[in-house]
Symmetry: C2
Subunit: 221 residues, 2 copies
């Protein structure tokens, strides 16, 4: 039985990342695990995401969404923030520290993620184009500039501003998009930062849960 206020999130069926936790439901799962909030998951297909019933929840036809009683939310950043505001563990109590943690949430999504997405997008749709080889260094340079700046700010700290926060949670998920590609690895402190995030018990629980969704869609032998 589902208690009335247990939130339900959506995740994608057969994620193209094959369970590597790169889809945006991972962020929300991780946040829910950090604050100890049980949740339900409704899996939607690529096709269903673009259909009217899902678009009522998400105008841009994506996942994740978040439903809790009368409230329906979209945008992973907003959902993580909603979770962080309601339960302890993801935002500092001190007002100034809280505002700075929120600044890192926006920085992760609006400054660091876009060039990383663009680079991935070029691999996806332009890999066979004659210009791909010439564009790639430019795309990588844009990513490197942001990583160098982030690395410089992080320095020897464990997290971006004091204790682990929703800002770190989003930033780690953004940097994970580059995992195993030898890019983040050039910045020792950033690589360690990602590893530190992935080592959190809440991260592990969230990762295993999203992997189970992918594994369930594999044909049984």
């Amino acid at each position: 039985m589902t208690l009335p206020m247990t939130p339900t999130i959506t995740a994608i069926e057969r994620s193209p990342d094959r369970g590597r936790g790169l889809a945006r439901d991972m962020r929300v799962r991780w946040a829910l695990e950090e604050v100890g909030q049980p949740y339900e998951v409704r899996v939607v297909s690529f096709g269903a995401m673009k259909e009217p019933p899902h678009r009522v929840l998400h105008p841009f036809g994506q996942i994740p969404t978040y439903e809790e009683g009368d409230l329906a939310l979209f945008e992973s950043g907003a959902i993580v923030f909603h979770i962080a505001e309601r339960r302890a563990g993801l935002l500092p109590q001190d007002a100034n520290a809280r505002a700075r943690a929120i600044a890192w949430m926006f920085a992760a999504l609006n400054t660091v993620e876009p060039p990383i997405i663009e680079r991935g997008f070029a691999f996806l749709v332009e890999r066979d184009k004659p210009w791909h080889a010439e564009r790639l260094p430019m795309l990588e340079e844009r990513v490197r500039v942001r990583l160098a700046e982030l690395s410089s700010r992080l320095g020897t700290a464990d997290w971006l501003d004091g204790a682990f926060s929703a800002g770190d949670l989003l930033m780690v998920t953004v940097l994970r998009r580059l995992s195993g590609q030898g890019i983040v690895e050039k910045y020792g402190n950033l690589a360690a930062y990602v590893t530190r995030g992935e080592a959190r018990p809440a991260y592990r629980r969230a990762f295993d849960a999203q992997l189970a969704v992918f594994a369930a869609t594999l044909p049984t032998s």
Copy 2:
């Protein structure tokens, strides 16, 4: 005399938009005007933005920043949110409506803005490349998909979710990046939405203030 808690924001000297209000300080100015918060402006040059003293405030070497007593913030979305949280006028009181307005803030910056920035970026750095003509339709299609979805959700409403909010403020500034290019204009309700935002007295005051900064840098005749 400056009262201790009057916030100071940074804006760019000789903005490349030539005072059209497309730089990100416009968002913060508009938010401050909406809530009736007086503020100070410190103008920084392109070069100074990338130097250590400014990077203490903004790790990514950009504008705007926000300083208020002991607090220093960066990221326009986070600054607008900070302003909206502290003074009435930019977020609904109802908890669910407030969460949805925040979702629109993230949607503006993480879903709608990135493809618009990419298209602008291609014009800036790839216009003379042999592949530009072939890439452009793809870049425009990505923008069009988002605008069509946004137009569909907005429908005949004045604002995205009830009363004007910080979500509308950010979305209007994002759409304004396409002003006069015949793209937003294809969606009558979105064009009217932008015009509605620009007609707000707080918008006008903010626009005039940023234009005055640009005008002050022009050589006198």
